[in-house]
């Protein structure tokens, strides 16, 4: 791997992780420690374990350290704000890197968005216009991040509620271009594709088919809320049927990409969450078996 920024540590060197992981949420700590469920890996929200100005201790870190002994972890952030017109926050990156050095995650991801500007943080994942200016800015910011972290970054597509008139390309063209030019990777959120597809009247399949096959290293699945005129990405439901359909298309295109169920509000029991993961595994197997059959027939 070479991206001209001195990054050469590939998180996927060796045996890549597979299967369907789950988001690690505090309500499930006790269940996980007691039952040691058969889950291939857990994803954490990085900021929940980076501490505050007061320090980096407390129950959450203890739980993570304990769970890490038995499970691989991937780190997923919400505050990197690579799309902000502000320069990347080096202090934040150092703290992220410090957590990574202790947790040794399989990979680190964040979002294709901005969360604030002029030093203020809105703590939301805000959309970008898809312009050449944005592409250049993102490539520059991502390369800086990858230099500091010493590894390639995965960036996730958003659910969005506004689009910009002056966009010069589609969201998927922008993602593809940025990931190629910055040599970064993609975390494809299939639920977000569906939500944005409904909100902005495009075809989710066009999105999936427009993403380069070699860049997608993780998939997210989640539930949304239907407001009648638009969808909102609320992560408080089971995965919906249209999203499962799109997931089948994604697996058919990208193969057995590690996938994960996000459920952040009205969080169900661990067993319910785990059942969603099993469903995703069954879909993966079904789609891949179908693809295998086609190859056999073609041969």
């Amino acid at each position: 791997m070479s991206n001209g920024c001195g990054v050469n540590r590939d998180p996927f060197a060796g045996s890549p992780p597979a299967g369907v992981g789950l988001g690690l949420r505090s309500v499930h700590y006790s269940h996980i420690l007691k039952h040691r469920p058969d889950v291939p890996w857990f994803e954490i929200i990085s900021e929940n374990y980076m501490g505050t100005a007061a320090g980096t201790g407390g129950r959450a870190r203890r739980m993570l350290d304990t769970i890490r002994r038995d499970y691989p972890i991937v780190m997923h952030g919400v505050s990197m704000s690579v799309g902000s017109a502000d320069p990347v926050d080096l202090a934040y990156l150092k703290r992220l890197k410090a957590l990574a050095s202790q947790i040794e995650p399989l990979w680190i991801s964040d979002h294709f968005c901005w969360t604030g500007v002029n030093g203020e943080n809105l703590h939301d994942l805000l959309p970008l216009p898809y312009t050449e200016e944005t592409v250049r800015h993102l490539v520059d910011q991502i390369q800086r991040v990858q230099d500091v972290l010493g590894r390639r970054l995965l960036l996730e597509n958003l659910s969005s509620y506004v689009a910009f008139e002056h966009s010069e390309m589609t969201e998927w063209e922008c993602l593809a271009d940025v990931s190629r030019r910055a040599d970064s990777l993609l975390l494809l959120d299939v639920n977000n594709i569906h939500v944005s597809a409904v909100n902005h009247s495009f075809d989710g399949l066009d999105y999936i088919n427009g993403i380069p096959k070699d860049r997608v290293r993780q998939i997210h699945l989640a539930g949304y809320s239907d407001m009648g005129t638009h969808l909102i990405d609320t992560h408080d439901h089971a995965v919906s049927d249209p999203v499962w359909k799109l997931y089948e298309a994604a697996i058919a295109r990208f193969g057995a990409v590690p996938s994960m169920i996000e459920w952040d509000d009205n969080i169900p029991t661990f067993d319910v969450l785990h059942a969603e993961a099993r469903k995703a595994e069954r879909i993966q197997k079904k789609v891949l078996a179908r693809a295998g059959d086609r190859k056999t027939v073609a041969a």
Binding site: T52, G116, V117, L122, D124, A163, E165, N199, H200, H230
Partner: protein
């Protein structure tokens, strides 16, 4: 901004930050004739900026922006409410969500990457929030206690320490020794006994709130070895001693200060140290 002009990325983000963080909502901000900052580089009419947002038949541009604008306050004020839970119960959810929380956020917008850092200025903010503190004069003290609890929860960890292992140290060495106090320890010198309110966990009556009287209260907040945060009262001499030790004073200096408050303090010190060591408050002694 002219309707056809294409804003740069910094311009677009500055405008979005402005319009999404207006306390009266996106619609109100867009309708306001002169509410954009004076040093705005392009045009001053907020609604003209709507031309940058894509048109859709089902949902208006302002409504789409409001999904973000409403979410901004809801999300962050919700976090504030989980930190200042007792305070929210005292003033009522509506007052907290629609006044205190929002006004706090307008005055102290987040500059943090971690949302858990929001709220550090709440006690000072309340001092100027006369409308609320007139009815609840103890509220700033309650906010200090709840913020101390929150900070203690996240404080750095220190290894355990066995005070008994120091039994053989000659007495002469103690005067110059300094103590390592656990980073989770917060010492609060409050005017009101708000720990009673906090401990009641919402099970108080309005009459009891009204009857609360000022009473100097020395509080310690700390995280136990089992990671649970505890709130307790300290004897004034113990409070003075621990405050001095936490500030880096030597044991000799700290003890002198504590003895001025209570002549019996020197006799209690070893009892306190043993107790503090067991609770994870005292993490080490440095004999110079």
């Amino acid at each position: 901004m002219p309707a056809t002009a294409k804003p740069s990325l910094p311009e677009l983000q500055r405008w979005m930050r402005w319009v999404l963080t207006r306390p009266d909502g996106v619609e109100d901000a867009l309708g306001s004739p002169k509410s954009l900052p004076e040093n705005w580089s392009r045009g001053s009419e907020p609604r003209r900026w709507l031309s940058v947002i894509g048109e859709t038949p089902e949902v208006s541009k302002a409504t789409r922006l409001s999904i973000y604008g409403d979410g901004y306050f809801l999300r962050i004020v919700d976090v504030l409410g989980s930190v200042f839970e007792s305070m929210k119960e005292v003033v009522g959810e509506h007052e907290f969500l629609h006044h205190i929380g929002r006004e706090y956020l307008v005055k102290h917008p987040s500059t943090h990457r971690c949302i858990d850092n929001i709220g550090s200025e709440m006690a000072d903010f309340l001092k100027d929030h006369h409308q609320t503190t007139h009815h609840h004069p103890y509220l700033a003290d309650l906010a200090r206690l709840e913020w101390a609890y929150h900070e203690s929860f996240f404080a750095d960890e220190r290894p355990a320490f066995d005070f008994a292992a120091l039994a053989g140290q000659p007495l002469g060495k103690w005067a110059r020794a300094t103590m390592d106090i656990d980073p989770s320890v917060r010492l609060l010198d409050l005017k009101w006994p708000v720990d009673e309110l906090w401990r009641a966990d919402g099970k108080w009556t309005r009459r009891r709130l009204k009857a609360m009287k000022q009473s100097p209260t020395k509080i310690i907040v700390y995280r136990r070895p089992d990671a649970l945060v505890r709130v307790g009262r300290l004897d004034p001499a113990a409070f003075t001693l621990l405050s001095a030790l936490k500030a880096g004073k030597t044991f000799g200096e700290a003890l002198k200060t504590a003895a001025r408050r209570n002549a019996a303090a020197p006799g209690m010190v070893m009892v306190w140290f043993r107790e503090w060591s067991g609770l994870g408050i005292l993490r080490g002694v440095d004999f110079r």
